[in-house]
Amino acid sequence: MVTWLLSGDKPRSAILAALLIVILVCLAGAPFLFPGVRSLETAATICIFIVLAASYDLLLGYSGIVSFAHTMFFGLGAYGVALGTTHLGRSFGALATGTLAGALAAAALAFLIGLFSLRVRAIFFAMITLAVASAVAVLVSQLSNITGGEDGLSYRIPRVLTPAFRPFDEEVLGIRFTGKIINYYLVFFSCFALFLVMLRVVNSPFGRVLQAIRENDFRAEAIGYRVVRYRTTATCLSAAVAALAGAIYAIWLRYVGPDTTLSFEIMLDILLMVVIGGMGTMYGAVIGATIFVLAQNYLQNLMGAASEATHSLPLIPELLSADRWLMWLGVLFILSVYFFPTGVVGRLRAGR
């Protein structure tokens, strides 16, 4: 059953398997294991970024395609939900329509970009995606009457998914059960299902051809595979999944804006998640996204505590000051790339 769910792609490392189980259990039980708004926000962000990073891994790790337009697709999904629910009203139908429209728009745009630019060399494709993503970001910020511009859009989602909805008067397992928790489980199960779908895709014959193309595109062509067609399909699929992740994020946040979905910073975050976790492994996205989001959210607190604990020592409290958390995050990434060039998953699998 587990093998079937994982499409035969087992972790192939006891430590990795243990890590994945811990992450899965923590995310599945997050509302009860770590009660509190902030931890629930962190858990939902981890779920969404796992899918986003996994969809990017399909491109970068499995197909060898470097794209800088991934946040654009993420944003398309998010804006799809925002516009859908703004114009069609507060209903699940509006959410579904917005999600579907966002995913289709992302796939269509990816198809166009792929068709025109996947024939050229990888570096040109990367540049083209960068240009299109920048253009879309500018467009979104300028079309403020539709997109809300730099302020973004806030909208109402069905009440059953909001903190105002309280199905039980009593506490459940020690916490007050609200619509936010239902919303969290919508995020969790959607992301879990999407991740399993991605795992299935990369382990299908289609995924194997992508890997073959990544390694030697001419050989794949000489066997009879149309490389551009496969690359374009992978780009569309990856864009659609990124848009779905964006839609889930929009449902969770009840807000979209250029900073939360379209910024280049998020693009760099995804890239780092995939590289740190391990490219071409899918599980790397899980590990990378979890480490990254946890570091983003808790490194500052951890450093503040460390700074206080060492207040009697010279210099060290200054270095560990909570204000310097970004610098230490950078140091952490440099070290992890240096010591795990094949990513955490690559390293764990090699050490089996």
């Binding site: 014959p205 890997q211 073959a212 390694e215 062509e221 000489a222 066997i223 009879g224 595979y225």
Partner: protein, 240 residues
Amino acid sequence: MSDPILTLKNVHTDIAQYHILHGVDLEVPRGQVTMLLGRNGVGKTTTLRTVIGHWQARAGSVFFDGQDITALPTPARARAGIGFVPEDMGIFTDLTVEENMVLAASSAPLDPARLDWIFAAFPPLKTFWDSEAGNLSGGQKQMLSIARAMAEERKLYLIDEPTKGLAPAIVSTMARALKDLKNQGASILLVEQNFSVAKALGDSVAVMDDGKVIWTGAMAELAGSAELQDTLMGLSMEAH
């Protein structure tokens, strides 16, 4: 005699600014092994790559199985029935031997009987079936490279220096497998520097020099004349 499986007519190919093939005329008969011989750098590999479409011919025509394929992209040529084994093997090192073979049978699932035949020719492939191809030895990688071309029945096999850099024991395994392929009636265009292998396998020969085919004839004729070998290739191939 039936029409040739492959015909090149006055083919010119450029690689970047270099004019490599200067009007190649070549016929590969059906059901025979045609050896493409010549010194290094005369255009043998470029000829094979022009046939599979890696390099497009700037002028001239390539006919395969009666069809003009000069303008076709590489995947279409492969699907038309041309199998290609490049000099650098080009196996997919991140995939397992099995995955390499499954991918190679691009039009249908692997035929078990054909797989048994491949295992008989190259026993190590069965042993390392689940291993990543990148972990194979050089000889085993070459076996996989040829086995991949054999995964499906092809109308024509283009094979570029299959014994290059291999240990003598592996060369004989390779030669046996190619002989087996030949005995099944396959049409093969083979570039081979090892003359004893070439002699054992070849039915006909095309010798290239300076981007052209300068001599064609029967293998027996070339093998029987050291003088001809000297004239055509500037060295006696018996030395190999």
